[in-house]
């Protein structure tokens, strides 16, 4: 179990590093074609007609990180790390932005996004590990697709259920874990 975890962790990080250049290019391309990367208005997503919806219409109390280098509301779909997430935010489900809720199992492999942190202007590689073994959390649905590519590129696609290599493939929520920086120095 421990060995498998380490192996698959290395695998997911390896995938991240191999794809970082491409992802970064895609990201830069997005920026210049006029994509207002932040903020994507929640109302736009809520009424977007996306199959992935947005928000639940209830009262929302922000949950800030407290770290000025990691700015934003971790319960908001606009938080910078969520640029390619698809699912329920674990922060709203008993976990955190980088940890799974109690009673779930974190998927060892997953899809990768590259998101720019507006505070330090660095492009981070974000691993969207799913949390598995409990049914749909139902809180804080969020779907963003910056850098998302069709399923033919699994490591860049958020439509897969990444509850793979876990005891159960039932999906609960998604994390957004920093696994590296895409380019050591922004150019």
């Amino acid at each position: 179990m421990g060995t498998l975890d380490k192996l698959t962790e290395r695998l997911s990080r390896g995938v991240a590093r191999r794809t970082s250049r491409r992802s970064t290019l895609a990201w830069l391309g997005a920026a210049i074609t006029g994509a207002a990367a932040f903020p994507v208005l929640p109302v736009a997503r809520a009424a977007s007609g996306s199959p992935h919806g947005g928000g639940d219409g209830g009262t929302h109390t922000p949950y800030a990180t407290g770290n000025p280098q990691d700015p934003g509301d971790r319960k908001s779909c606009d938080y910078w790390r969520y640029c390619a997430i698809d699912g329920f935010l674990c922060t709203c489900c008993g976990g955190s932005v980088s940890t799974c809720p109690p009673g779930t199992e974190m998927s060892p492999i997953t899809w990768i996004g590259t998101c720019t942190n507006p505070a330090d202007n660095r492009a981070y590689i974000i691993s969207y590990n799913d949390c598995c073994g409990t049914s749909s959390c139902g809180q804080c649905m969020c779907n963003r697709n910056e850098g998302d590519r069709p399923q033919v590129r699994p490591q860049s696609n958020n439509d897969y259920n990444w509850c793979l290599g876990t005891q159960s493939s039932v999906y609960n929520c998604s994390t957004a874990v920093i696994v590296g920086v895409a380019l050591e120095q922004p150019k």
Binding site: D5, E9, S12, L25, L28, G29, A31, I32, T33, D56, G57, G58, T59, H60, T61, P62, Y63, Q69, D70, K75, T91, C92, C93, G94, G95, S96, S98, T99, C100, P101, P102, G103, T104, E105, M106, S107, P108, N117, A119, D120, N121, R122, Y124, S127, N129, C131, T134, S135, S136, C137, G138, Q139, N172, V177, I178, V179, G180, V181, P186, K187
Partner: protein, 398 residues
């Protein structure tokens, strides 16, 4: 054409980024974070936490219970526990366990049926074991606490069956097996009674108290006649517990206590009314799903609707009336921020009234003053219908 445009865009992109480059304000990037990482909970949950049962009408097979920290509007959900197919949930805090009584089909909606109690660890929310109940008898209802209860000092669980023949299964939680089954023709709901037994309410208005032997079989039973007039003054099935006294309220607002400490339930003399008030259309009556609850001091809280009429008893309420059972009098009225289906009071040093509104919002009020303190959003899911407070450290398991 398109690819020409895109090539231009990409080169412009790199140029634009180069122009915008400036020394980062933060010399070091944010650190890498470990994978995998799964949170755990304290084994002893704070008394500010509650369990909220989301019946999940849109997918009854996929009901769930949310573990909520009522002090945190920023992060109220602390976990989620499966509660499948008209499930019941039981908090066994002294055991460090949450129990769910559920039904499963091998093909979600069809196939082989399995009824089972699952034992969840409170610290990890992982299942520690299960007790399969044979025969496909488990009662399936919109969730009532009285379909799944503890007795025998918390060592046994009692599970209501309905096929529609009525019975109660006795489960040994340590041995993880079904010990016995008690037939219960004409009677329903389980109210723990005495040290090892339970009471049920019967269709003719009587109650039946059963004391169990060490083998889980009936040691003695006793009927108490005419404890309610079901046609004219029915009692809501779910009472508020104060120690081993169960306080029931009728559809019309009469409050009746039952002493469940001995082997036979004893109706307490002196039923009293929740009172009346102006503004009813036509009148104030209890309304909702979990309409009566208690605090640690023994005050009762009743969820009240101003639109009381025949058939309004599940319509929810917009006020909570607070009753002193010693004075047999109402001592406060608390206005809610919306029509609510369920109420409960925490066992904190400063108790809070937790309110599950019809629109799914969970509100926290100061129980003493009634003041609204904070909202938790829709942290209890789509259809929050029951709220279970966490007992204070060392307190009873409700």
């Amino acid at each position: 054409m398109r690819s020409h445009a895109l090539a231009l865009v990409l080169s412009a992109s790199l140029a634009g980024t180069a122009l915008a480059a400036s020394p980062p304000a933060y010399p070091a990037p944010l650190p890498e974070e470990p994978i995998p990482a799964v949170d755990t909970l304290p084994r002893q949950w704070p008394a500010s936490w509650v369990l909220v049962h989301d019946f999940h009408f849109a997918s009854i097979v996929d009901g769930r219970v949310y573990v909520l920290d009522t002090t945190s509007p920023e992060r109220p959900v602390r976990g989620m526990i499966r509660a499948s197919q008209f499930a019941n949930m039981l908090l066994a805090a002294p055991r460090g366990e949450v129990l769910t009584s559920e039904t499963f089909y091998s093909r979600l909606s069809r196939g082989e049926r399995t009824d089972a109690v699952t034992i969840w660890d409170m610290a990890t929310l992982e299942p520690k074991g299960e007790i399969v109940m044979p025969g496909g008898k488990r009662q399936q209802s919109v969730t009532y606490p009285q379909l799944f209860q503890l007795t025998n000092g918390g060592k046994w669980a009692l599970v209501a069956n309905f096929t529609p023949a009525q019975s109660v299964s006795v489960l040994d939680l340590d041995a993880r097996k079904v010990v016995s089954e008690i037939d219960l023709p004409g009677c329903a709901q389980i109210y723990p009674t005495g040290t090892r037994g339970f009471t049920s309410l019967c269709a003719d208005g009587s109650l039946l108290s059963i004391a169990l032997g060490p083998d889980g079989q009936v040691a003695s039973s006793k009927t108490v006649e005419k404890v309610q007039d079901i046609d004219r003054h029915p009692l809501f099935s779910t009472p508020a517990w104060v120690g081993q006294t169960a306080w029931f309220v009728s559809f019309y607002g009469q409050v009746q206590g039952f002493d469940m400490s001995g082997p036979v339930a004893k109706p307490l003399p002196g039923a009293f009314s929740v009172g009346t008030a102006e503004g009813g259309a036509p009148e104030w009556r209890p309304g909702g799903w979990q309409v009566i609850t208690s605090d640690a001091r023994g005050l009762l809280y009743v969820l009240m609707s101003p639109n009381g009429r025949e058939g309004s008893h599940k319509d929810g309420g917009s006020e909570v009336w607070v009753l002193d059972t010693a004075k047999k009098a109402r001592v406060a009225r608390i206005a809610l921020r919306g029509v609510a289906a369920a109420i409960s009071v925490t066992r904190e040093a400063v108790p809070h009234l937790i309110v599950a509104r019809g629109d799914g919002e969970i509100d926290v009020h100061d129980a003493a003053t009634g003041a609204f303190v904070r909202g938790l959003g829709r942290a209890g899911g789509a259809n929050p219908i029951l709220i279970t407070p966490v007992p204070a450290a060392g307190g009873p398991g409700q």
